[in-house]
């Protein structure tokens, strides 16, 4: 019997696995897909929120402000791309000026450090490319940007390094109470465990209902995005928000840690499996974004995507033990979930301890990670790196300057990727303007070689996302 099974390999599940791996206990994370971080964690605004938005007194407010500091700390330790660039909430009229002041007050109550209400002139000085119609803005210097999937992967990798277990391709199909715990059936295998933590994101209601009384329903709400080329990545220097209103939180414009510009999201109710973008949704995002930053050149778009928010009936996160003793939820995690995840994880560890889990720290806990990012090396470091390992001399992704050495590194770290997008999430290959047109086949070859599988078996992303449908010249005609 293991001590804890975590259901779901998003940033919440991975954060918890990492926190649990500090202790002398057995923890297993089960994930239905072939990689961690592939649900909402990979499709969101990638913002580390300051924490002025949630209403004081909510768990959201507490986790957000705590999480803001923790994400920064984790990213430094685990070598995850992060930049504390600060955020602006723009006001365009007197009503919104008042809202900005209200957000300032909320933030003060929540304990957000360093905020300031800026005049129109001050905004323009900080951000020359924002709309001249801005009347004031809330500045929050603690806001940042992060690579969400790299954070989740780094947490999971580190946890595995410390002895925790990740079971991929393991969809949970049942959770049965047994003596002293639960029998979790995942990917056809049975795991007996003392505690279960449900971090199944958009599907967390389904998992909850397998073991605990039905207390909430997750309804998906879709947000669509544009990702723009690096040529647009320096248009703004901060995360640029609009004032929240009746119709939603507004569309943000922000640099990404990878140097691109992200624009989005809208908010539309959707089915839980609907990750499609729509012509109307994208047109809305575009129109709204141009209000904040009129000069965005959407011809430099390199990708569109959509993510799903896990909304519930309650306007707060659902974190804690259920009526079913030993079964915990981390559910209803919408924005600012990414920021809050590390704080939630620490809190859940505390709760598990209270519920009887022994938390005996490991003496050997490894709490650092180092990744070679060739393009960030100096000339001398590059020369030395190639001299040591010639694979660093072979560029695979030319748009993002990613070397074969980095890809091979990723394939031999704990929790290796098995798909082209899995490598992309770890190394950044295919993230550039050609979107993997040149490097995709090459990355596929390297994965096949390193994992010892046929090239046809290397998927684009999830299981079943086949890139190649067969070989030419094999007489295998279908028609």
């Amino acid at each position: 019997m293991v001590d804890v099974v975590i259901v779901g390999g998003g940033v919440c599940g991975c954060s918890l696995l990492y926190e649990l791996s500090r202790y002398k206990l057995s923890a297993v994370l089960v994930e239905k897909e072939n990689d961690v971080s592939v649900g909402t964690t990979k499709a969101n605004s990638a913002i580390v929120h300051a924490g002025y938005d949630p209403h004081p007194g909510t768990t959201m407010a507490r986790y957000n402000v705590e999480g803001n500091a923790l994400v920064k700390e984790l990213c430094e330790k685990l070598d995850v791309p992060y930049k504390q660039i600060g955020s602006l909430v723009l006001a365009f009229d007197a009503d919104q000026d008042a809202l900005v002041r209200e957000l300032f007050d909320r933030g003060t109550q929540n304990g957000v450090p360093g905020m300031k209400v800026l005049s129109a002139a001050e905004v323009r000085e900080m951000e020359p490319n924002v709309s001249p119609e801005v009347t004031s803005a809330l500045y929050a210097p603690s806001a940042g940007i992060v690579s969400p999937w790299e954070l989740a992967i780094a947490l999971a990798e580190t946890a595995v390094k410390n002895g925790a277990q990740v079971e991929l391709n393991s969809e949970v199909t049942s959770i049965q109470p047994i003596d002293g715990g639960f029998r979790v059936t995942a990917g056809g295998k049975e795991i007996d465990t003392r505690f279960v933590v449900n971090a199944a994101g958009i599907w967390s209601d389904k998992i909850n209902d397998m073991a605990a009384p039905h207390t909430f329903t997750v309804s998906a709400n879709k947000g669509e995005y544009f990702l723009l080329d690096k040529s647009q990545g320096t248009l703004v220097n901060h995360v640029i928000f609009q004032c929240p209103s009746k119709v939603g939180k507004g569309v943000l414009v922000s640099p990404t840690v990878h140097g691109n510009l992200i624009v989005g999201p809208n908010a539309e109710d959707a089915e839980k499996d609907d990750l499609g973008t729509t012509g109307d949704g994208l047109a809305f995002v575009r129109k709204m974004a141009l209000r904040s930053v009129p000069d965005i050149n959407f011809r430099d778009s390199i990708r569109n995507f959509a993510g799903l928010r896990a909304n519930t009936e309650i306007d707060d996160f659902l974190v804690g033990e259920t009526e079913q003793k030993g079964f915990f939820n981390i559910a209803g995690i919408k924005s600012p979930g990414l920021t809050s995840a590390p704080a939630i994880a620490r809190d859940v560890v505390r709760m598990l301890g209270k519920a009887g889990l022994t938390l005996d720290p490991k003496e050997t806990f490894v709490d650092e990670r180092h990744v070679v990012r060739f393009k960030h090396l100096s000339h001398e470091e590059r020369a030395a790196a190639i001299a040591k390992n010639p694979l660093y001399g072979q560029i695979v992704c030319r748009c993002e300057t990613i070397t074969e050495g980095e890809i091979v590194d990723a394939l031999h770290r704990p929790l290796p990727p098995c798909s082209i997008d899995g490598v992309k999430r770890r190394c950044g290959s295919g993230m550039g303007r050609c979107q993997g047109g040149f490097c995709g086949p090459r990355v596929q070859q390297i994965i096949a070689r390193e994992l010892g599988i046929p090239q046809e078996a290397v998927m684009m992303d999830r299981a079943g996302t086949a890139v190649i449908t067969g070989e030419t010249k094999m007489g295998g005609r279908t028609e």
Binding site: L227, G279, H379, A383, R462, T465, T478
Partner: protein, 424 residues
């Protein structure tokens, strides 16, 4: 670190780089180096296994690999040095080239002149924001071509092609011949951007329908593409509700345009023309940085490799001369585009550097019949050239005689295209 001084460094070993390097060597440049990021020379020609190359230049019909080999085979005799698997990371205005390869490590190379021959890349789904799901099975036509022709893999069985650029048309035939069913070729514009001969021999030969003024409005599929929805568009290229056609398919190929790959040029500080997305060049293919030249698809996207070769020979020759003699001097005129013309190459002409005439390349903005190309200056038409048929997909070329240069006023000429009856 390697610090050899080269006469000419050529960045890229595709058709442009090959021609530039050989011509530079022929012109007397002693040390010429090609830096090629792939493990073989020839660039995109290697995957263009269809024939039709070389009719202009070699007066015979060759496949892409054959065309490339005609140049590759001459490199050794010409004394051109080649580094394969060598990625150029930076070119500076003082012509220091930072490059690296597995074999040679990190290199800092110096050259008297540099020729930029990086070619172009394909526009992607993201660039044109096609809505819908994000399943596997959406490829740029060139990526699919690489998979099929070089690697030997099929990328799908039932295919819809968006865009009627030449690569898309070629791939329609190629996939059909390999047993796939190509259901449709869908083109946003009311005309095809590909060559007429490719419409005939790639689509018509295999009864593949071409839907002009149509676009893909939705891609559906969970893991692999399952359906695409195509709709007719109005004059403003907006989809018309109610005209949707659904195709059951597992593959979408995109042939929606090519973009010159000028990241290195931009880093170096080369002036870029917004119309071509390529460097602004002089008549000898020199960029705004003295001694840095560019030619081929990195300057403007060509339809025929033969013209890439000719243009690159000019660049290679000029690079060799620069290495020997330095910058050509003398007065300079600007070439501007007038009615119906979307860009011109070159954009600048140093009159004393022209022998008998200067060739001006350009494209038009729509399909026209019975037109006159006019080159004018100071309100006077200096030269006229008749054309029966013009299209955006077909690059135009005129030879403007040096004898007319004295008539140029205000240091500029304008290239415009007008209807025959409106010609002056």
């Amino acid at each position: 670190m390697n610090e050899t001084l080269y006469d000419v460094i050529v960045v890229g070993g595709g058709p442009a780089g090959l021609a530039a390097a050989l011509e530079a060597a022929k012109e007397g440049a002693g040390k010429v180096l090609i830096l090629e990021r792939n493990n073989e020379l020839g660039g995109i020609l290697n995957q263009c296994i269809h024939n039709g190359f070389g009719l202009q230049f070699f007066k015979e019909e060759l496949t892409g690999p054959e065309y490339a080999s005609r140049f590759i085979d001459k490199l050794a005799d010409a004394g051109v040095e080649v580094m394969l698997g060598a990625m150029v990371l930076d070119v500076s205005a003082d012509k220091t080239v930072h490059a690296m390869s597995r074999e040679h490590g990190y290199m800092q190379l110096r050259a008297k002149s540099v020729v930029l021959n990086m070619g172009c890349r394909e526009r992607t789904r993201g660039a044109i924001a096609i809505p819908g799901d994000r399943p596997a099975g959406v490829f740029t036509a060139g990526a699919a071509q690489l998979y099929m022709n070089i690697e030997g893999y099929m990328v799908g069985k039932r295919v819809v092609i968006l865009g009627s650029g030449d690569i898309g048309l070629i791939m329609a035939r190629r996939m059909t011949l390999e047993g796939a069913k190509v259901l449709a070729c869908v083109e946003l514009m009311p005309y095809s951007n590909g060559l007429n001969r490719n419409i005939v021999q790639c689509l018509n030969d295999y009864d593949i329908p071409l839907y002009l003024s149509h676009t893909i409005v939705d891609i559906k599929g969970d893991k692999r593409v399952e359906q695409v929805v195509v709709a007719k568009v109005d004059e403003k290229r907006n989809p018309i509700p109610g005209t949707e056609i659904t195709f059951d398919c597992d593959t979408v190929l995109l042939s929606v345009g090519l973009i010159p790959e000028n990241e290195l040029s931009r880093q170096a500080g080369v002036e870029i023309d917004r119309r071509t997305n390529g460097p602004v060049v002089y008549e000898n293919m020199e960029t705004s940085i003295p001694g840095v030249f560019a030619s081929g698809n990195v300057v403007h996207v060509h339809d025929l490799v033969d013209f890439v070769t000719q243009e690159s020979q000019r660049a290679g020759r000029a690079a060799a001369l620069y290495a020997k003699n330095g910058e050509p001097q003398g007065p300079c005129i600007a070439v501007e585009n007038g009615s119906a013309v979307t860009y011109t190459v070159p954009q600048k002409i140093r009159t004393e550097n022209v022998d008998k005439f200067v060739e001006i390349f350009f494209r038009v903005n729509f399909v026209y019949t019975n037109m006159v190309i006019q080159i004018s200056s100071g309100g006077e038409v200096l030269a006229r050239f008749k054309r029966e048929h013009m299209a955006p997909g077909e690059m135009e070329k005129v030879a403007f005689p040096k004898a007319l240069f004295p008539k140029i006023r205000d240091g500029k000429i304008t290239v415009s295209v007008v209807k025959e009856e409106d010609a002056e």
